[in-house]
Amino acid sequence: MTTVAPPLPYRVADTWAETADTWSIELVPVGEQLPSFAPGQFAMIYAFGVGEIPVSASGLRGRHGALVHTVRAVGAVSTALCRLRQGDTVGLSGPYGTGWDLRAAVGHDVLVIAGGIGLAPLRPVVHEVLDRPADYGSLTVLVGTRTPADMVYRDEIESWRGPARVEVTVDRPGPAWRGAVGVVTSLLDRLDLRPERTCALVCGPEVMIRHTARDLLVRGLVARRVQVSLERNMRCATGHCGHCQLGPLLLCRDGPVVSYDRVAPLLLVREL
């Protein structure tokens, strides 16, 4: 092959607002279908004429082979994706990246920790663990958001309570907020962790990941059982464009999910 394969056309089957600036988009293949995505893997989504961005799949089991992606409007492409309507077409390629190592979590308590839209790539993990309770120990989901209005998957999170322990905290509460206030790591204080039997999966802003991972280690988890999903500029998703480097890692190829023991020293270096 001497030509670059274009993305595959996917049709927007449905789209709904998660928050004021964040939308979920359900995509179905127009013709040929991409290989199936594992939890934590990402697609490159192309908005016609505007550009392409990496977005982790937030739902893998939609109708008719549909994938769900959740996008916050922060730049030109993500804004274009948030403006899509039912019936529009985008270009999709993937799946890319490592995804969460759920085999490592089998037989362990699963601790999911998300900051803001970082819950999106973790949502398929929650689905997987809820689907196969016999394969895993307890499931705990900790979510931190800026304000109550910034919370994604609000109704669905409520439905997880029962089979899972769910705790939510916000940075800035409104008058109606009755829940916890503060950074997501403060929720760890309330847990009876069994550190030697726990596998933690963390996604959010890098500063949140850094603090959360270190707190988990202080609580006795080993770095190898803490998985983090990291973000960098990604242009090609195939290890050829160089943008997504974090020291020795090409995060599109070696990540976005990496075990914390590989990246802990790297995250301590400013502007690496």
Partner: protein
């Protein structure tokens, strides 16, 4: 194309190859063109020796040398008429194998649907004449980066698979060269189809040419020449050996990967950041730098869009742009990214160094920043202070026994 007379004049191409004169070089270019190759080689243009398409061997830079220093490049006339005694020019072969601008595909919007179309332009079939050993190594490195992993870059792979590499061993390194330090020259490593060593002495101006592949041997059989004689072979080997002894620069004798990993907080990065203009010239002239970005454009109808891929540079502020701003906003961090990648983390990513010691980054830096001088300064700093990055973070419990 070769004629019967040419073939009759040719000696059998044994492993020792042929010795040929300028007429042989002329015949080589003709044979290559006759075989359908686009021949790319060095030629003089715009006050520099550039790589361009050659219509004949007359366009080779016979009688031109160069003077190189940090931030300085000048052509110099040579009395010996040598064609390849002029070190690395501003370009490298990546300009042809990994072009600076490529259309990847296009998309059209019709009745609300998107239709994608791949770009089907067939790649040219190149013959590269005059590939220096450092550049031969650089091509091998780009092969690993762009075709050695789970994903192959089809643009590079298509151009590379058809390319014929005619190496020329280095007998005239420049003042900025350090290929010996990087184990990338001045003798040619593997990977060539043909290899030449140029000799100019009392016995005349000649090229000792050997085959390195089936196709190379076939071409060799079409060239006029005589069996390689011991005097020419010895003169050629002596020239290459002497070249190794007068490299203008050296890298510090150290494990450069460890040195880079251990000096991420060295104050030297502030020093070089004070000089670096973050212009990205070093990345453009580097024969192994491969970074690209994408550009999506639409035409005036708004219904036709194209995806283009362009060279990019880690010195560019946008390179590490995320929604919150660039990860590497300071010039300190961007120079550090380039140098630590080139000399250090490249090993982790692709199994070798990313530097071949060609010296282009030193020559074409407008302020004369010298990667060997920077490495030496880091080495000195590490030797006097110990490397703080070697000490484990006290807050981080390390390891949990065997997996």
């Amino acid at each position: 194309m070769s004629t019967d007379a040419d073939v009759n004049a040719s000696a059998p191409a044994g492993t020792d190859g042929l010795v040929m004169g300028k007429d042989g070089m002329a015949a080589l270019v003709d044979v290559l063109i006759g075989r359908g190759f686009t021949v790319i080689g060095p030629t003089v243009r715009d006050g520099a020796i550039v790589l361009a398409e050659l219509g004949s061997a007359d366009e080779l830079p016979y009688g031109w040398g160069v003077e190189l220093e940090a931030g300085r490049y000048r052509l110099r006339e040579r009395s010996d008429g040598a064609a390849f005694a002029n070190s690395a020019g501003p370009q490298s072969w990546k300009s042809f194998l990994h072009p600076s601008r490529v259309r990847e595909w296009s998309a059209d919007r019709a009745k609300g649907q998107l239709v994608f179309e791949a770009d089907h332009a067939p790649p040219p079939r190149y013959a590269f004449l005059g590939v220096r050993p450092c550049d031969l190594r650089a091509i091998a490195i780009q092969d690993r980066v762009l075709t050695g992993g789970a994903h192959r870059d089809p643009v590079y792979a298509g151009r590379r698979s058809g390319a014929l590499l005619i190496a020329v061993e280095c007998t005239e390194p420049g003042a900025t060269c350090f290929c010996v330090s990087m184990n990338a020259g001045p003798a040619a490593g593997p990977g060539y189809d043909l290899v030449m060593t140029e000799v100019v002495d009392d016995d005349g101006h000649r090229f000792w040419i050997r085959g390195g592949s089936q196709e190379g041997a076939e071409i060799l059989a079409e060239l006029p020449g005589r069996p390689a004689d011991p005097r020419t072979r010895e003169a050629a080997r002596a020239g290459v050996t002497a070249a190794a002894d007068h490299m203008g620069r050296t890298m510090p004798e150290a494990d450069l990967r460890e040195l880079m990993a251990g000096t991420l907080d060295a104050p030297r990065w502030d020093d070089v950041a004070g000089r670096c203009l973050t212009c990205g010239n070093c990345t453009m002239v580097c024969p192994t730098c491969f970074c690209t970005t994408t550009e999506d454009v639409t035409d005036l109808t708004g219904d036709h869009a194209e995806r283009w891929r362009l060279w990019d540079s880690c010195f560019d502020l946008d390179f590490s742009q995320l929604h919150g701003g660039p990860v590497r906003s300071s010039s300190r961090s961007r120079y550090r990214q380039w140098m630590t990648h080139k000399l250090g983390t490249w090993y982790d990513q692709f199994g070798s160094s990313g530097c071949v010691g060609c010296g282009r980054c030193i020559v074409w830096c407008p302020v004369g920043i010298d990667i060997t001088e920077e490495a030496a300064a880091l080495h000195d700093w590490a030797a006097t202070t110990g490397s703080p990055d070697d000490s484990p973070d006290p807050d981080l419990p390390h390891g949990d026994g065997p997996p």
